[in-house]
Amino acid sequence: MLSRKHRGLSNTIAGAAMIILLFIGVGIGYVIPREAPVAQTITVTNVVTQTVTQTRVETTTATVTATQPATPIKIGFSAPLTGAGAFYGQQALWGAQMAVDEINARGGVLNRQLTLIAEDHRGVPAEAVSTVEKLINVDQVSVIIGTFFSSPTLAVMPIVAKAGVPLFSPVSSSPLIYNQTGVQGNKWVFKTNPSDTLMVRALAKFMFDVKGYKSVSLVAEDTDFGRGIVNTLEAEAGKYGVKVLSKDFVEQGAKDFTAVLTKIRGLKPDVIGLGITGTAQIELIVKQSKELGVKIPLSGRYDIFAPELKPYIEAGEAEGFNTVTPYSPLFEGGRNPEFVKSFKARTGQDPHWNAFLAYECVYVVAKAIQKAGSSDRAAIRNAAEGLEYDSVTGLKLKFDENNHMFPYCYIIEVKDKKFNLQVIETAALK
């Protein structure tokens, strides 16, 4: 037994130790989410020289000589590099970096190299806001590409508009974005992929017309993306006279779908319409369906190309599954086969739609900078309005009055353990 005096001393030491531990905890908490992103080449440039060179480049545009190396043009990149969307973020970063490297190898834009500055928002809207604020204020980027999830994109849209920085969104598909951009108000946001309204419209035709499903149960995550999918699918089902038997929203990143799947098993719909992101989530849905004896094909929007689904597709347990995607590596039109080949050579993986859309987005941004003739934020925005772009898929794209482009979307169906592909023109669905 310690004496009173000793007890007092050891208590003080213990207290001090606890405070230190707490500080370490808080410290690590602060450091990690910011340090976690995949290593990127971040060019450290002296701010003074940068401004000087930049002015020189802008005033003398065509007469810049090779003797004076120009400062790079900084492109901010905000994506879920870790978390439930880590696979998407990684693919997107690969795609974007590949485009940047290709452009730089050809001499860059306006005789200046492009530099990608990547930040991780882990799929959390609040973190997306802080990454974008950092890119705007600390890194002083000319333009931002992001943020790959709908809720984070919707969260950063007012911020880029206020700061006057053009945001090019390559993947987020919530119709709420379309309703706010261009002539609808937010002139700083541009979107290079089709919205869910159009993609689900195309899918509904396939589900209710081609496949002839008569009833559907809807399961989606409780986000802007998930609710958008359910609203559109429900409206489309109404048009085709298809019964919606149930509608369930689960937490984003949910793991236990047994309650919902058991309920659906009792309702016996022809198809389950999903609005789910996350590769782990779609695997858990397929695995738990199997464990509960639910044999209903999955449709809606989910990641049919998720690596986690591969074993199920190869085992023939995903026959009849279908979905709509904004890209497919199987598409053989345009320059896509070459793109798939060089992407595979570079990363060892097939390009996911996040990779392709990010890749194309960088080219759209480069074209806007070229047209603007400077790396000035407002000049790029003005140049991007109504910008035309020749897609890798062979399609001619153009920003409409809502700052949106309408590339192809693809209906994918699993048949005989393989993906069947159908190409849809989204512009016709408007």
């Binding site: 929203f249 047994t258 309650a259 309920k263 986690e308």
Partner: protein, 292 residues
Amino acid sequence: MSAEIIFTQHLVNGLLLSGIYGLVAVGLTLIYGVLEIVNFAHGEFYMLGAYLTFIASAWLGLPYYASVILAVLSSAFIALIVERGAIRPIVERSFESKVLSTFAISMILANAVLLLFTATPRTVRTGIAGTIEFAGVFFSVERVVALLTGYLAFLALHMFLQRTRLGKAIRAVAQNRDACYVVGIDLHKMARLTFALGIGLAGLAGALIAPIFSIEPSMGQAVVLKAFAIVIVGGFGSVKGAALAALIVGLGESLVGGYVSATLKDGLAFLIIILVLIIRPQGIFGRATRVL
């Protein structure tokens, strides 16, 4: 498909879930009963158990059952170190110091795992995935194994606390600390043992859940809140109460998710807390004492 089969399936789903909740909650309530510490880091030890299983099975290539044993032993061992460094110094101190201390442990563990593994979800594969059908009701093999192991662990804990000298000593500490000084029970030793035991149970829960769901560094936060709810409903410090409350919450969540709304499912445990706090503030099996 008859409505009865679907109802039975919901009950089975809930039962399988309650086993996991029970393991986490029982460890939490045990530690509270003996150390009078509300362990805010409990969920992180559950997460640690899941990651240790992942390391053992995916990296070391051990079979699943061996991974589980290794995960439980290592979490109990880590618990002993943590007890020495961050619990023993504050066990006699104010409630606030205890909260801060366990909160610090929770942050350090969660962020250390985040640093090592990133937030990307991982999956543990057992090789026993599959399902058994009985009269139209499906039982996932992994979940049945988790439930049976959980109940066996609970039974073993019960026997240990009721029948052995050490178990009786632990209960004695929970009942009356001063009397323990008089009869010569080593309080530090009992505290150390209880902490390792409680954390071992949390690690076991994590190891059992790892193949059923994907695992990620933040997985402990959601579970610890639910475990708190279960412990409050069951009565703080009551092992029996925690087990019963886990059953109520597990079954309730499954039925609410199936018949009311999947969105409301996770709110159920907290709705039950409100009801219990109004009707019987000390919990189902709790003693009417002032905690704070």
